[in-house]
């Protein structure tokens, strides 16, 4: 039911693990089935230089977390914000319809991390 690409990212997740002193953290829970995703970013000059994730969830949740980290690495924050759950799903050669909500988790975690970074920046200036 999953594409080979999904299985590849599930078997060998990229950028999995915790990050020391991240610049932004996105933590989201999935209202649909109750899963969780955390995404951590390091940012220099508005560019995402490093990104990591940890996920408690299904194969699609893990694969989409992994894929979103690949997609955003090296991107500016504004570029990264343009990445939607559909982009992530497409990059994985599609997801079964019942699993599309898992990719929303990835998008939300990314947005959360960027928002967190921007909030911290504003606060540190105050």
């Amino acid at each position: 039911m999953y594409s080979e690409k999904v299985m590849d990212h599930f078997r060998n997740p990229r950028n999995m693990g915790e990050m020391e002193n991240p610049d932004g953290v996105g933590k989201v829970g999935n209202p649909v089935c109750g899963d969780m995703m955390e995404l951590y970013i390091k940012v220099e000059n508005d560019v995402i230089t490093d990104v990591k994730f940890m996920t408690f969830g299904c194969g699609a949740a893990i694969a989409t977390s992994s894929m979103v980290t690949e997609l955003v690495k090296g991107k500016t924050l504004d570029e990264a914000l343009k990445i939607s759950n559909a982009t992530v799903a497409e990059a994985l050669d599609g997801l079964p319809p019942v699993k599309m909500h898992c990719s929303v988790l990835a998008e939300d975690a990314l947005k959360g991390a960027i928002e967190d970074y921007r909030k911290r920046k504003v606060e540190s200036k105050v």
Partner: protein, 395 residues
């Protein structure tokens, strides 16, 4: 890669002798069992022989066995048929929260038609509380439907006690024995069972065939129409190959039921001991002892079941889970929730169910592979990381 099949509560591999029987029927015995000439008589004999075997295994009479397309149909027919057949007495049905969807959804449909259904709760082991059942019976209760053993946890329900109470109160008693038929001794008279559902494919038989036992004298209405077969309760040309296959599967199960049960128990306990020793933060779902000898349902904390299934599949190991992420409805197992499991625990549940042919070598392979799989998923889990942090802090 060698594959290890541990999902026998979902379905079982067809026994070679059953496959031979089915093939022989398909090739040679094509007759319609309702016709008078030789081909028809031969087909009818196959159906009659199978009926006899099914009846014998549960201590019933041949005429009380109706062949169906499987467990789902048998459950539908029993619940709906008895509900409709006793409207003059009342419209109240008693069942439980852990029934198979074939019973639950039929009850929900009946509620829309004006029937009243009480869904009895279970304790932490997934067992019905008989007292509550007794108290829930009303003068207008027409049917009690409680399964024999639950397909997810294997917890065995106090069916004999329920049967006795039902008889005392004059209420018709149906039990879904899809998971126990051919595995546990059943006697419909001793256990006061009025209707009982059977499915062949859980018993190393073919898919799409089953039976419903209906005690003589039970009032019920047919839910299908169109022919005289199966006492007009289940019309339609007989599925002779399937029915003959069910007969063969019953014959094999009956020949070594006790022996096979002991073997399955040894296999199950070997896996449980191995898992307990090698993997921390787990819990058993279901009754510790009053449980089907082939079923082991365990929750692995901090991880999710679908990802475990996928990883185990990479090792050739086939199992099931009660995780929300494995169901099309994205709801966690209704059985585990009914037992009081929080959704996170249901999330990390795996069901191992054994059958004829599983070996100790296979179990040892699983015991080797499972800690790696669980460990890998835990290493990705933010819940596990939080847990470790808390543990460190308190130490």
């Amino acid at each position: 890669m060698k594959r290890i099949y541990l999902d026998h509560n979902a379905t079982t591999p067809v026994h070679p002798e059953v496959a031979d029987q089915v093939c022989r029927c398909l090739r040679e015995d094509f007759g319609n069992a309702g016709t008078l000439y030789s081909y028809g008589r031969e087909a009818k004999k196959l159906v009659d022989d199978a009926r006899e075997k099914v009846a014998t295994l549960i201590g019933a009479r041949k005429e009380e066995i109706l062949f169906t397309s499987g467990g789902t149909e048998s459950d539908n027919m029993a619940v709906r048929g008895v509900a409709y057949g006793n409207i003059n007495k009342g419209r109240h049905i008693l069942t439980s929260t852990i029934e198979h969807h074939a019973v639950l959804e039929t009850c929900k449909a009946l509620e829309k038609e004006g029937f009243e259904v009480a869904y009895l709760p279970v304790d932490e082991y997934g067992t019905i509380k008989v007292d509550e059942l007794k108290n829930a019976i009303r003068s207008d209760t027409t049917l009690i439907s409680i399964m024999h053993a639950n397909n997810e946890t294997g917890s065995i329900q106090p069916v004999s006690e329920i049967g006795r109470i039902a008889k005392e109160k004059g209420v018709t008693f149906h039990t879904d024995t899809v998971q126990t038929f051919g595995k546990i001794v059943i006697n419909v008279d001793e256990m006061n069972i009025d209707l009982l559902s059977i499915s062949a494919h859980k018993l190393h038989g073919p898919k799409g065939v089953g039976a419903l036992y209906v005690r003589k004298g039970v009032k019920m209405k047919p839910v299908m129409f169109g022919g005289h077969q199966e006492r007009k309760m289940r019309p339609g040309t007989h599925n002779v190959p399937g029915i003959a296959g069910l007969g063969k599967a019953v014959e094999i199960a009956a020949s070594d039921m006790e022996e096979e049960g002991e073997k399955l128990l040894r296999v199950r306990e070997r896996l449980w001991e191995g898992i307990k020793k090698n993997i921390p933060h787990i819990r058993l779902n279901g009754h510790p002892t009053v449980r089907l000898s082939n079923t082991l349902n365990i929750s692995f904390e901090f991880v999710e079941g679908e990802s475990l299934i996928l990883s185990l599949d990479d090792h050739g190991i086939c199992v099931a889970s009660g995780s929300a992420c494995t169901s099309d409805s994205l709801e966690p197992s209704h059985v585990l929730l009914a037992m009081g499991c929080v959704p996170e625990v249901a999330h990390g549940s795996l069901r191992f169910s054994f059958g004829r042919g599983n070996t100790e070598e296979e179990i040892d392979f699983v015991i080797q592979a499972l800690p790696k799989v669980v460990g890998r998923m835990r290493s990705m889990s933010p819940l596990y990381r939080e847990f470790l942090k808390k543990q460190k802090e308190s130490a």
